[in-house]
């Protein structure tokens, strides 16, 4: 057992930190403030392979692994959680299910464009009446000769406005519940497919979260992803992988808040000395750092298991549960240690605290993670 990074991983971390610090951080406040999708950052990330980290070289990816991918989402989220989730949703929720479930033709068609970042990917499962209870899907796909005709809508879709490819789920047999769900690949310009209203969110405000609307969308049968009626399993497996990305995002947010706080408490003077000299500050920082490091271990363990093709869904659930709750706790403490300044947008911890909250909600709420973890204990 070895907890240290390899030379290759260290070099990768150095590159991604450099990139985050110089290209992503300067835009973070603006992206949040203006609710702007940082398309120029996506283009820069595309150029150096960040949009296709765990995709094999044969499909135009970087040929890296899930651990590197998690490290990338972490480091990007240290400075900008919006950028972190853009990469996470694109990679885990769109490229990954195509790689893991797609036919060779589908992989050849979509992966090179996704991995190179020429196309951005998105994922559509949630509906107004189907959140945690995915079986409540009302979007339906009806067979029509060589095609499927899709009707319905999806909400809270990350990257929606800027994506070119969407992996979406629809009922192909309503009578069978979750066993009647299928997965489909839909391209941006398909007639009848449109982007609905954009959400006004508390955090990750640049991630272009919108509604997807399907009105008699005709797609060829070759766009069915995986087998007919097997969509629910694909969705669940995809979310297992996605949780590693979100856990890494939460971890990054916590780490970012710690870095900002450490800098601040050394500079801020009260009662004639830096507030870092007060034991309350020191103890708070110790707790923040310990929990964040524990999150990091869980994230890396889950990613490592996925890389080794071992079952990892419980590990991913634990990583996401713990990292998300840690992010919320750490950012809350960070704001508290900043005092009044922490409540203003002059300091990034205010944004980080808002960004942290979503990690307890999306891609399975903390309650869902607890269900996954305990179900495995009690089976």
């Amino acid at each position: 057992m070895d907890f240290s990074l390899t030379n290759e991983q260290e070099l990768f971390q150095q590159m991604i930190r450099d990139f985050a610090e110089n290209e992503v951080k300067p835009l973070a406040a603006e992206v949040d403030d203006l609710e702007r999708f940082p398309i120029e950052t996506v283009e820069k990330m595309a150029k150096i392979g960040i949009m296709g980290i765990p995709i094999p070289k044969q499909y135009g990816g970087a040929g890296g692994n899930n651990l590197m991918y998690a490290m990338a989402v972490e480091e990007l989220s240290v400075v900008c959680a919006t950028t972190g989730v853009i990469v996470s949703a694109h990679t885990s929720l769109c490229a990954a299910p195509i790689l893991e479930n797609g036919t060779e033709a589908q992989k050849q068609k979509y992966l090179p464009k996704l991995a190179s970042g020429e196309w951005v990917g998105a994922f559509g499962l949630t509906e107004p009446n189907a959140g945690t209870d995915a079986a409540g899907q009302q979007t339906i796909a009806v067979e029509d000769g060589d095609n499927y005709i899709i009707n319905g809508s999806k909400i809270f879709i990350t990257n929606a406005e800027f994506a070119h490819v969407y992996v979406i789920f629809a009922m192909t047999d309503k009578s069978k519940g979750t066993r009647g769900i299928s997965a489909f690949i839909i391209e941006k310009d398909t007639p009848g497919f449109s982007i609905g209203k954009k959400e006004k969110k508390m955090g990750i405000r640049g991630s272009a979260t919108c509604e997807l609307i399907f009105e008699n969308v005709v797609i060829p049968k070759e766009n069915l992803l995986g087998k007919l009626h097997k969509g629910f399993g694909i969705a669940m497996k995809t979310l297992d992988g996605g949780r590693i990305g979100i856990a890494a995002q939460a971890l990054g947010i916590a780490q970012g808040a710690i870095s900002e706080t450490v800098k601040y408490v050394k500079e801020r003077k009260q009662f004639g000395r830096p507030i870092s000299g007060f034991q309350n500050t020191q103890f708070q920082l110790a707790d923040m750092n310990t929990k964040t490091e524990a999150s990091r271990m869980l994230v890396r363990k889950a990613a490592n298991k996925k890389d080794k093709k071992l079952p990892y869904s419980v590990d991913a659930a634990m990583a996401k549960l713990y990292a998300a709750e840690t992010a919320m706790e750490v950012t809350n403490k960070a704001v508290q240690l900043h005092g009044g300044y922490g409540y203003t947008r002059e300091y990034p911890v205010e944004r980080m605290m808002r960004d942290a909250k979503i990690t307890e909600i999306y891609e399975g709420t903390s309650e869902v993670q607890r269900m996954v973890i305990s179900a495995n204990m009690l089976k």
């Binding site: 290759e8 070099l11 970087a62």
Partner: protein
Amino acid sequence: MKIVVCIKQVPDTTEIKIDPKTGTLIRDGVPSIMNPDDKSGLEMALQLKDEYGAHVTVITMGPPQAELILREAYAMGVDRAIHLTDRKFAGADTLATSHALAGALRKIDFDLLITGRQAIDGDTAQVGPQIAEHLDLPQVSYLQDLKFDGVKTFTMKRHIEEGYQMLEVDAPCVVTVLSSANKARYMSVGGIVDAYQKEVEVWGFNEIEVDEANLGLKGSPTSVYKAFARGLKPAGELYEVETDEAVGIIIKKLKEKFILN
């Protein structure tokens, strides 16, 4: 076109701090990086590769851990990496360093040799021109930009205090590049994955062509007589006086600190 770029691993001097109690340098936890001027030199080479299909070799002289910047160079897109390392090179000043590098460069065929203008740990700006002298090649230092005519002639833009100079020189030649010349590209993710599959050639004294007397401590004409930390800031002085007197105090301070003569 064949290009060789000399690169150096340096401590990130912007991260070095002085221990307020002992007045000594705190070097723990200071990251090692590719010297910024060298990195821009490497970028210049890679742009020539993009445009003219140049073959780019990087070479570094340094301890085993300096291999990291060669992997970094691979991840940025170079074709060949050479690590010059030998106990015989240890303790070298700039002149002895330039002899060792020149010894290695005699074994490599190139049209253009690029070095950074200077390394941030020493800031001497000497090794590039010294290599050029040992190899009897023309040099252009403080390079901001360079154009190649596709045959054998370079047009170069050299920074000077009042502006710039345009110079013309034929290959082979040596240039030293400023970090402001360009913004170096990032390593690519795929490049990093590949970088550790590639070979880094390790060369020692036996692989190069140089007189041993010119190497290492023995080959170094200069030596450090003493080194000391710059004095710590004294407690600030505060004056509440009339404008004329205040201006006098400021001017006196500027003279004390050699900012004014």
